[in-house]
């Protein structure tokens, strides 16, 4: 049955998320200024923090399913501060890759490690075919050589899932994922990026120079390079289907934070939306508040829809990209429009609004830019391959 109401349990979970988010928010400014790591577990208040998902033990079939709740929890956490979310869960994208592509033994072995994901290289963005990092089998070891950039949480992670090619001539089919733990010989984190936003969140550049890892560190253990098709690449890409709506939800949480702040700030000075009125009874500012809210709502519903599909085991490649494309665009425009509404005071660091604007901007860039998402969407609706529409 089509339904958009939250049950009591749903609301209880989200209330806990919000409670923690508000506490974390107190530290957000300071951590941003110092570009410092943010470990909520070490906050004085953290001893009272419950894992919101632990409340899911009370979950029944009448409550909103986990796949959707995960989006609402993500948005609720980033509503407080972007970094809260990143520090709370046990890992990053690398853990998702491990779960998606690892053998049962591999999953068991590394499940408690925080794993970053290293894909991008200095000369390639979303173009995985262009990957230059190589893996060569030498006896029972892989020798990895290459350079990776924009590795989210790469500094503090325990290890990294690295995309490398066994055979450049094989294109995507030659690309495999390797788990490389910190301390492996020849693996060095060279640089922590200074960024526009999400500054309390590390982004690493790393180098692998004749880095040696054991043969069983190949995720999935499949060393074959299929003659045709993209090989295991499709499976690897599935990782992103699940993370795309998630990333969108995180961005939308920040957009919602900016809107809530703006609405409250203006309301305190007497400017509020009259929901009864038509366009002729609205001020320019009220109209803008309505439009921003509609955008955020649309983006959030797209993210929920994509996660509802995946929760039902239905394919959602199209819908995941819709969520990411819409969410990315809303995250950047909504926060920007809020700053415009706030005027001069909004761009001071007295308030977090300017931080949310900076933080949210990454949403439309990482894990596939808005342009990449639109390509995916267009290919899906046109039935085109990536060579037919590139």
């Amino acid at each position: 049955m089509i339904d958009f109401e939250l049950t009591e349990l749903d609301q209880e979970i989200l209330a806990e998320v919000r409670r923690q988010a508000l506490i974390c928010r107190k530290y957000a400014r300071d951590l941003d200024e110092n570009e410092a790591e943010f470990v909520p577990k070490e906050l004085p208040e953290a001893k009272d923090f419950k894992n919101p998902f632990s409340l899911m033990s009370k979950h029944t079939e009448h409550d909103t399913p986990l796949s959707i709740m995960a989006m609402l929890v993500a948005a609720g956490a980033s509503w407080g501060d972007y970094s809260v979310r990143m520090r709370e869960d046990s890992g990053g994208l690398g853990n998702a890759a491990l779960r998606a592509s690892g053998t049962p033994e591999q999953i068991e072995r590394w499940k408690d490690k925080r794993l970053a994901m290293a894909i991008t290289e200095p000369s390639c963005g979303s173009d995985s075919k262009a990957i230059q990092t190589t893996a060569v089998l030498d006896g029972d070891e892989w020798i990895i050589n290459g350079e990776k950039i924009f590795v989210t949480t790469g500094c503090r992670a325990d290890g990294v899932v690295v995309w490398a090619t066994l055979d450049k001539s094989a294109g995507r089919a030659g690309i495999k994922s390797f788990i490389i733990m910190k301390g492996a010989p020849g693996f060095e984190v060279t640089h922590k990026e200074k960024k526009l936003g999400i500054r309390a969140d590390d982004t690493a550049a790393m180098v692998f120079k004749d880095c040696r890892i054991a043969r069983d560190h190949l995720l999935g253990l499949n060393e074959n390079i299929p003659k045709q098709g993209a090989g295991g690449f499709r499976a690897v890409m599935k990782t992103f289907n699940n993370t795309r709506p998630f990333v969108a939800a995180i961005g939308l949480g920040m957009a919602q934070a900016a809107l809530d702040f703006t609405r409250d700030a203006l309301a305190r000075e007497g400017v509020e939306v009259d929901w009864d009125g038509g366009k002729h009874s609205r001020s320019a500012v009220q109209q803008e508040l309505i439009e921003i809210e509609a955008e955020i709502e649309a983006g959030m519903l797209d993210a929920l829809h994509a996660s509802w599909l995946s929760g039902n085991g239905a394919p959602n490649n199209l819908e995941a990209s819709i969520a990411k494309a819409k969410g990315g665009e809303v995250a950047r425009t909504a926060t920007s429009r809020c700053l415009e509404l706030l005027g001069g005071l909004g761009i001071t660091r007295d308030h977090l609004a300017e931080k949310w604007f900076r933080d949210a901007r990454i949403t439309d860039i990482y894990e596939g830019t808005g342009q990449i998402q639109r390509l995916i969407i267009a290919r899906e609706i046109l039935g085109y391959s990536s060579s037919e529409l590139s």
Partner: protein
């Protein structure tokens, strides 16, 4: 519990209406547009689908299923996908029926609902729009004045759909006793009421050519107390408006989807500079954008409709949905024309009609009710 899953019954209704829209509405759309004429036989066929009687409880001769705004939203999307103009014509009785079901007194339901349970299309309508460029529902210029045991209605209405044949009008007016939407009242006025002048919209409209509009002039039209919808309780004006606004929005969604589903194969077939234009990012991204917004619009409408269905105040959700749908529908129709280029501008293709219909539909509330 959040879910995007229609019930099996809703899936079935969607399939049925999708077929009807494709075979009947889409076929008749262009000839009706060119002739500015509404084909009566089509109204009859649409009526047989039971669109009107579905909302009418069995005790008043209807089919008695629960009136469901969500189901209606699904239906309207499909009918709008066929033709918004013909769909609005087929569904305009809902403008009278749904408020009656929602707010009518027992007597009012008994008197008027059975009109719509026969096998023949029966027209009734809502008189809402007024002759002002700054028209706003919070500030109607049609007033109901208490006169003796009844009321006297005065004012002017425009763009009343199906007014050429409506047996009754639900006239929206201000009671003059309260502020804003709280002051909104509705009166059942028969076509032959003394003081009521009905004139066709002489100059017609840019789009929705097959939907006949009229103007009403109410010159101290006297009605009894029993004509006040809801009797002493009156109506929930917000709910009534939300229902109408979401009705138009759902039609618009169908239209937007039609545009997209026409633009996609066109772009795949049309070759320019040696390659199908769909393989050019500028065109492909426009199509992707259409798909993004068709989805987004649908969820906003469903969310507002679900609030309407559960009875909570859906005003905010409706405003969000309507604002969004009006803008995005127009953008999609505009880009649809652009994808077709010169062919988007000539009447051999449906695109220019959808462009006119989109602009017309998205400035009018109240062409059908959810």
């Amino acid at each position: 519990m959040i879910s995007f899953g229609p019930t099996e019954e809703q899936e079935l209704i969607r399939e049925t209406l999708r077929e009807f829209a494709a075979s009947e509405l889409r076929e008749a759309a262009r000839p009706s547009d060119e002739a500015s004429r509404l084909p009566d036989e089509l109204l009859g066929k649409a009526w047989e689908l039971g669109l009107a009687s579905a909302a009418i409880p069995t005790e008043f001769g209807g089919d008695g299923t629960q009136r469901s705004p969500i189901t209606n939203a699904i239906m309207l999307e499909e009918l709008g996908h066929g033709c918004v103009s013909l769909a609005a014509a087929a569904l305009s009785p809902s403008l009278f029926i749904h408020p009656l079901v929602d707010f009518g007194t027992e007597e009012q339901k008994r008197e008027y609902l059975p009109l719509f349970t026969t096998s023949k299309y029966h027209a009734a309508s809502l008189a809402f729009q007024e002759p002002s460029f700054t028209f706003d529902a919070t500030n109607l210029k049609t007033f109901a004045e208490v006169k003796g045991d009844g009321y006297e209605l005065s004012g002017r209405k425009r763009l009343v759909p199906m007014g050429d044949r409506a047996s009754h009008f639900l006239v929206l007016a201000r009671g003059g006793t309260r502020e804003g939407l709280d002051d909104l009242e509705a009166f059942i006025v028969p076509r032959d009421a003394a003081g009521l002048t009905i004139a066709p919209e002489l100059e017609k409209t840019m789009g929705l050519h097959s939907l006949p509009f009229v103007q009403l002039e109410l010159d101290r039209v006297a009605v009894s107390a029993a004509a006040r919808l809801g009797g002493a309780d009156g109506i929930d004006g917000r709910r009534l408006l939300n229902s109408c606004r979401l009705g138009s929005a759902a039609l618009a969604l169908g239209l937007a989807r039609a545009v997209m589903e026409c633009a996609i194969p066109y772009a795949q077939e049309r070759v320019a500079f040696g390659t199908p234009i769909a393989r050019k990012q500028a065109i492909a991204f426009m199509l992707a954008e259409m798909q993004i917004e068709v989805n987004s619009m649908r969820w906003l409408i469903w969310k507002a409709a679900s609030q309407l269905e559960s009875g909570v105040d859906a005003t905010r959700a409706t405003t969000l949905a309507q604002t969004y749908v009006n803008r995005e529908t127009m953008k999609i129709a505009d880009n649809g024309v652009q994808v077709l280029g010169g062919h988007g501008f000539i009447r051999d293709y449906p695109m220019e009609m959808w462009y006119r219909n989109a602009r017309t539909l998205t400035v009018l509330d109240g062409l059908c009710a959810l």
